[in-house]
């Protein structure tokens, strides 16, 4: 079959690889009908995530048709059914899964030792990601082996198109969980850093959950326009001061809730930092990675919440923890517990409360995937979200 294969930094190729087979009794094989590129894939593409191996198959946002079912998944899945595959592989039985903390499932990571070394304890297995999370082949391919398939799926009701439901695999529940983590009150201002696909979904979720005001921050004009369309007040951090604008919009008190939908490759803003700060950052020989986190910690209203769907991999430097502690901020973060939210979100899609297809800007064949990684990363051609069909 064809698949997008990681070979190193900025080196992803569409190649012929062996078809996946049923390996465990709870497995199923799906024929992928649609898949997408995620901002998390960019961290792999840019070489920021350790423990990738040449030959790893990319992709954790996909859906398709069940073509084969292992003996222990029978009864839960049938050949021919349409399913969206959540990016977190879940057993559904361990203590964490039973509490709904699916992204820290204790069973599904087949490299638990590696994960425990990096994170102290194991986290769930993830598709198309580092070997720290199991190194499971991903769904940017013609076929996908789904481990623990009896639990790791979302069934698609008739009448919904691929594009309407595809993002249940990741970015819609991720934006939703980001907003839910804020426990939004009708009086809240929610400030969201990053207007990529995750930020866009977080904006819509915050509006639906009733935030009084949603502020969105980025520097890409067409992404900011899309944010505004979803009901956000926008700040272009390249043209205006984030601090000043947020002061203005919150009467000098700061947003009650802040969401980091940027992650470890944050760009240093041109206006917040004085030259001195930027020089200092650079002198630590650390790139501007934790930039958004620092800005949120500083700007958030006392007793507020920082919600962090943006991905971090390891260590970050110069964190103003004094601000977090003294202001009594709550931090909530994590890979998304996808299946915890998908029933509710599917219902909202069916009821027409939200149509996630608004974010799709590029539709290509799988073969054109490698080039689209660059287009998406560099925001060329007004790219916001790429959907591929094998």
């Amino acid at each position: 079959m064809k698949a997008l294969v990681w070979h190193g930094k900025e080196d992803i190729r569409c190649e012929e690889v062996p078809d996946p087979r049923i390996e465990e009794p709870r497995d199923a094989i799906i024929k992928v009908t649609s898949c997408a590129i995620c901002g998390s894939d960019l961290h792999l593409y840019n070489g920021f995530v350790p423990f990738m191996k040449s030959g790893d198959i990319m992709g954790h946002e996909c859906m398709g048709e069940v073509v084969e079912v292992g003996p222990e998944a029978k009864g839960k899945l049938k050949v021919g059914e349409r399913v969206v595959i959540p990016f977190t592989i879940i057993c559904g039985e361990c203590e964490q899964c039973r509490r709904g903390n699916f992204s820290v499932c204790e069973t599904t990571n087949r490299n638990k030792d590696l994960a425990a070394k990096a994170f102290g304890r194991t986290t769930a297995g993830l598709f198309g990601y580092t070997h720290l999370t199991g190194g499971y082949p991903g769904g940017q391919a013609e076929y996908l082996r789904v481990p623990y398939a009896d639990r790791t799926h979302i069934k698609v009701p008739d009448g919904l198109s691929d594009e309407q439901v595809l993002f249940l695999s990741d970015i819609l529940p991720t934006g939703w969980q980001a907003a839910v983590q804020c426990d939004i009150q009708p009086t809240d201002t929610v400030a969201i850093w990053g207007c990529g696909p995750v930020g866009q979904m977080a904006i819509r979720s915050a509006v639906l959950l009733g935030a009084r005001q949603v502020i969105a921050i980025d520097r890409i004009p067409e992404r900011l326009d899309m944010a505004k369309a979803g009901g956000a007040v926008t700040i272009n951090f390249e043209e205006e001061s984030v601090v000043e604008r947020i002061e203005e919009l919150t009467k000098g008190k700061g947003p009650e809730k802040c969401i980091d939908a940027v992650g470890l490759e944050a760009h240093a803003t041109a206006t917040l930092d004085s030259m001195y700060d930027r020089v200092k950052q650079a002198m630590m020989l650390e790139s501007d990675r934790a930039h958004v986190l620092r800005e949120m910690m500083y700007l958030c209203r006392p007793a507020g919440t920082l919600s962090i769907p943006g991905v971090y991999g390891g260590l970050i430097d110069k964190i103003p923890f004094g601000a977090v502690m003294n202001k009594g901020l709550t931090i909530r973060t994590g890979q998304t517990h996808v299946n915890r939210w998908t029933d509710d979100l599917l219902r909202r899609i069916e009821q027409g409360q939200i149509d996630p297809t608004f974010v799709i800007t590029h539709r290509v064949r799988l073969e054109d995937g490698p080039a689209m990684y660059e287009t998406f990363r560099d925001k060329k051609d007004a790219c916001v979200k790429v959907v591929m069909t094998p």
């Binding site: 520097r219 899309m226 369309a229 009650e256 002198m283 020989l285 009594g328 916001v384």
Partner: protein, 178 residues
């Protein structure tokens, strides 16, 4: 707009600035090697004997910055790093002006040279950071892509019925006072 961004990375420096940044990278490494391998020559000509260790440390810094400049996809933070290094250099050189150092004229020349490089670094850093550039226009019009069936104001709170799990709720007493 479209053609300009077809080649360059969106929001990243043009080729001229990128070339300047690479040049500064090579310069950094060369200077760093000189500082690391022949610190005595430098300190003697500046009348700053005894500072060899410091000069070598600065050499390591220059090399690291230089490698960063050449290797990084985005050289911006590294050029700012050079600006910071320049400030350190200037400050260190200035200490050589204190007392009755017979090599004061040499230090003057060195100061002038470093000041020149600092100006170049600053210019490059500012160009890379996009200071003073024109506001960028959207490449395409997404202003009607709301994802909602009605105006966002009409959608506000539609999902307040959502069953927010208990473990995701902030205890009342800890909520920000608004």
């Amino acid at each position: 707009m479209r053609s300009e961004t077809a080649r360059t990375r969106r929001g990243h420096a043009g080729t001229q600035t990128a070339t300047l940044a690479r040049g500064l990278g090579v310069f950094s490494i060369a200077l760093g090697l000189a500082e690391l391998l022949a610190p005595r020559t430098l300190t003697r000509s500046l009348g700053m004997e005894g500072q060899e260790r410091l000069v070598q440390a600065y050499g390591v810094r220059e090399i690291a910055t230089g490698v960063g400049l050449l290797a990084a996809r985005d050289p911006t933070p590294w050029v700012w790093g050079r600006v910071g290094g320049d400030v350190l250099d200037l400050a260190t050189l200035a200490t050589g002006l204190e007392g009755d150092n017979p090599r004061t004229p040499h230090i003057g020349i060195a100061l002038a040279a470093v000041a020149g490089v600092t100006a170049l670094d600053l210019y490059c850093a500012k160009a890379l950071s996009g200071d003073g550039s024109q506001p960028r226009l959207p490449l395409r019009d997404y202003s009607s892509r709301s994802g909602f069936p009605r105006h966002p104001d009409a959608m506000r709170g539609v999902a307040r019925d959502a069953d927010i799990p208990r473990d995701f709720r902030t205890p009342e007493a800890l909520r920000p006072w608004t």
